[in-house]
Symmetry: C2
Subunit: 243 residues, 2 copies
């Protein structure tokens, strides 16, 4: 029997399965545009209000900040007025495509530790965060959902990463769930094999200290392999997939 | 006063300094063509006679093995007969240029541990090793120098890495000293700030375990920065220099 071509199989699926089922089959749990220093750090040390990405953390994002995608996301003029286009911008764009829900650790949401003193902290991103979908924040401290402008609602999940993923998948309604970070959150999901695909941006920076992505995790044993390397203008994009 | 151009400065030095002094000024201690997995391992685990690079270690050298440089080095037909040319080959070539002496750890020299049972182990490379200059092997166990075909002599140094470097610099006579490896040896020299330049080949492989290059070393604090990233055909070449 001749081997069916991929697009035939997709056509067949598309005809036979109801839309929701089809979408669920194709939806992925993924990490995207996650920047790493050459020595393996996904953020700098000593995160606080002045250093959301940790000390020197922004250096690993130098490929992202000047892109058209980033500038437009923050209401600035992109395109021919200043934002870069090219491989780095294309990869930034892809990282937001088909994302139906986000998951992030509490430190990615903010610098507040321990019980919430009040509801005044609303994330690093101002009144209209750049998510525009439900965002599930992992925390040990319950808090009411927080609806922001532009379609972003932060839900605070105290039942752990697997419960958060279940909620996020449901909310994503067949689209992908993006694990935003930080490094500790990505590691939690990697350790239990729940991430299908990672797009890492290996940036030409040595941080020396910070939040390690790989340390103590055997990604090979966990089933991950490198499927693509794509040199960008200011970083090297690498795709890892789970077998 | 107009700023002198680099080649003028070099010309000036060349005229005023005696040749040996000039050479010594320009000679470097460097690591070159040192392969690293994306998760930071410079070799696989469990090195033995069957696995000189550790289990799965050869995967991080896939960029090097098919090059013209590697094939010719091992007496095989390179060039149009089969060896690749291009960025990876160029970088392999550069790694051997202007090298006057090598230093390597004992495990890079062989799988024998503890006192030498006899003098039968003569390295992994057969009768004519690809060094063609003096090679200083770090070991705790004295052994007479070993002269091989083609200009390679292995000297066994028991007085530690700094003594080995002193001997190697003298032997290199103004050319560069190349720290060959393995990872533990490179780390020893990095920790004391004695390496001027590293050319690392970040290969699209996750080893998950093995000999870590970066773990526990703060290369940034030690003064290293990334000065160049060069995408090769099968790996990404990165140059680190000490400030």
């Amino acid at each position: 029997m001749p081997k069916a071509k991929t697009h035939d199989l997709l056509g067949w699926r598309h005809r036979l399965l109801p839309a929701a089922g089809y979408n669920t089959l194709m939806s992925k749990v993924r990490v995207a545009a996650f920047s790493v220093s050459l020595d393996g750090f996904g953020a700098g040390p000593r995160q606080d209000l002045q250093n959301p990405l940790g000390v020197r953390g922004p250096e690993i994002f130098q490929w992202f900040f000047p892109t058209d995608v980033f500038l437009k996301m923050h209401g600035q003029q992109g395109g021919s007025k200043g934002g870069t286009t090219g491989v780095d911008n294309d990869m930034a764009l892809k990282s937001f495509e088909n994302v139906g829900a986000w998951i992030m650790g509490r430190n990615m949401f903010g610098p507040v530790r321990g019980p919430w003193p009040d509801e005044s902290w609303k994330g690093w991103w101002g009144e209209e965060p750049p998510y525009h979908v439900p965002v599930f924040v992992l925390t040990h401290h319950a808090r009411a959902p927080l609806t922001m402008k532009g379609g972003t609602t932060f839900y605070f999940v105290t039942e752990g990463p697997e419960a958060a993923l279940e909620k996020a998948k449901k909310a994503a309604n067949g689209k992908d769930v993006r694990i935003g970070g930080g490094a500790a959150t990505v590691r939690q999901y990697l350790a239990v094999g729940l991430i299908d695909e990672l797009h890492l941006a290996f940036s030409p920076v040595l941080l020396g200290e910070g939040e390690p992505l790989f340390a103590g995790l055997n990604l090979s044993k966990l089933g991950y392999t490198v499927t693509q390397t794509l040199p960008g203008e200011k970083t090297t994009h690498v795709i890892l997939k789970k077998k």
